[in-house]
């Protein structure tokens, strides 16, 4: 019978089960909230910071040297990512006010974009040797 294909039926839901699930959800909610608060990472010294604001990476092109650490800060109300076109680095989801750091270990030109808004694009050029 095709009617079963929308998935497993619910229906047999005792009050106790509902209460237990409610409790679990409430506890998870608390854990998530605490997790979000505790997640603000300590920022290490970086040579440059890229700010994400109004769906743009600023600066859109940045030059650093091998071994340099770059900080990315999401100043937008919307979540973004910092994802290399060649997938060599990926911040994963960066929430509002979220920060992410990456150390560039190989020289080259790295194009990156936002997986949630792929028209957001920018470039980081990594030169060999330390700048100092």
């Amino acid at each position: 019978m095709a009617d079963s294909s929308a998935g497993a039926g619910g229906g047999i839901c005792t009050h106790m089960k509902a209460i237990l699930i409610g409790l679990q959800v409430a506890l998870l909610g608390i854990a998530l909230t605490l997790g979000a608060r505790a997640a603000a990472p300590t920022l290490l010294p970086a040579v440059a910071t890229v700010h994400i604001k109004d769906f743009k990476y600023n600066p859109p092109a940045l030059t650093v040297h091998v071994g340099d650490r770059v900080t990315f800060v999401n100043d937008d109300d919307e979540a973004h990512t910092v994802t290399a076109t060649d997938k060599s680095f990926d911040s994963e989801g960066l929430d509002t006010a979220g920060t992410w750091q990456h150390v560039f270990t190989k020289p080259g030109t790295y194009h990156y974009f936002c997986e949630l808004h792929p028209y957001m694009k920018a470039t980081i050029i990594v030169l060999p040797g330390a700048a100092k």
Binding site: M1, A2, D3, S4, S5, A6, G7, A8, G9, G10, G11, C13, A18, I21, G22, Q24, V25, L28, G29, A31, L32, T33, G35, A36, D54, F55, D76, D77, E78, A79, T81, T83, D90, E92, G93, D95, T96, E115, L116, H117, P118, Y119
Partner: protein, 293 residues
Amino acid sequence: MKRDDFLKHVAWTGTGIAWTLSSTGVFNAQRALAADDAISFVQMSDSHIGFAHPENPDVIGTLQQTIAGINAMPVQPTFVVHTGDVTHLAKPAQFDTAKQILGTLKAPLVVLPGEHDVIGTPDAFFQAFRRSDAPKGWFSWDQGGAHFLSLVNVFNFEIDGKLGAEQIDFVEKDLAAQKSSTPIVVFAHVPLYALFPPWGWTTEDGSRVLAALRRFNAVTVLNGHIHQIVQHTDGNIRFATAASTAYPQPAPGTAAKPGPLKVPDSKLLSVLGYRSVEIARSAATITDHSLQT
């Protein structure tokens, strides 16, 4: 069983009714239902579990309110479809929370991913909601006299929503096997037509699917993604995007960019909600319900 009682029974048992009928042989009742040719379901969308900003500091609470509203419906829907962005950042913990809350729905649940559910990889989404009948994420089924297609237009997300050639081939073959008189219902996260391309509110390769839908008498396309209700009719196809359960977004072109929209706290529940849909052979009835009581 009198018809009134029978209808109450339908309300209580949902999809189980057909089995009850075939095992007890109350064939007239079943035909009576088939003659009505109607199926009702609920759409909810864009819950963004993990979002915790001033636009809605309690997305868990508003999702729970949504589910309470659906569970309190006097006639339970045949199923509930969540049209994506279940989570905000595709974190396994966010999926766990969402799955627990969505598990309190009385009706069966169908979930398709939004781009927020597949950031970097669809693995966490599939771990939470994989169906054995949808190894790639998209699938179709027949129910209540209608044909349903659940599509994914957030993989290989580039500028806009994108279906990809493999999925479009599946849709074309799937639709070719349907009678033009069968009501068709399509779910996808991002709008399938060019609702507002400057903000990416369109599916770049959606036109082939829309072309394949043209020969049917009645098509309903339901999407999420834009966190607001927009209805649009194009020939035989009726499009409707759904409200979010989490936060609204600006109307197309009324802000510099899309994104969470802060409304006065007292107004928030009035712009969040879910919708019930009844599909009959000749018409689709779409009713939106806000969380404001």
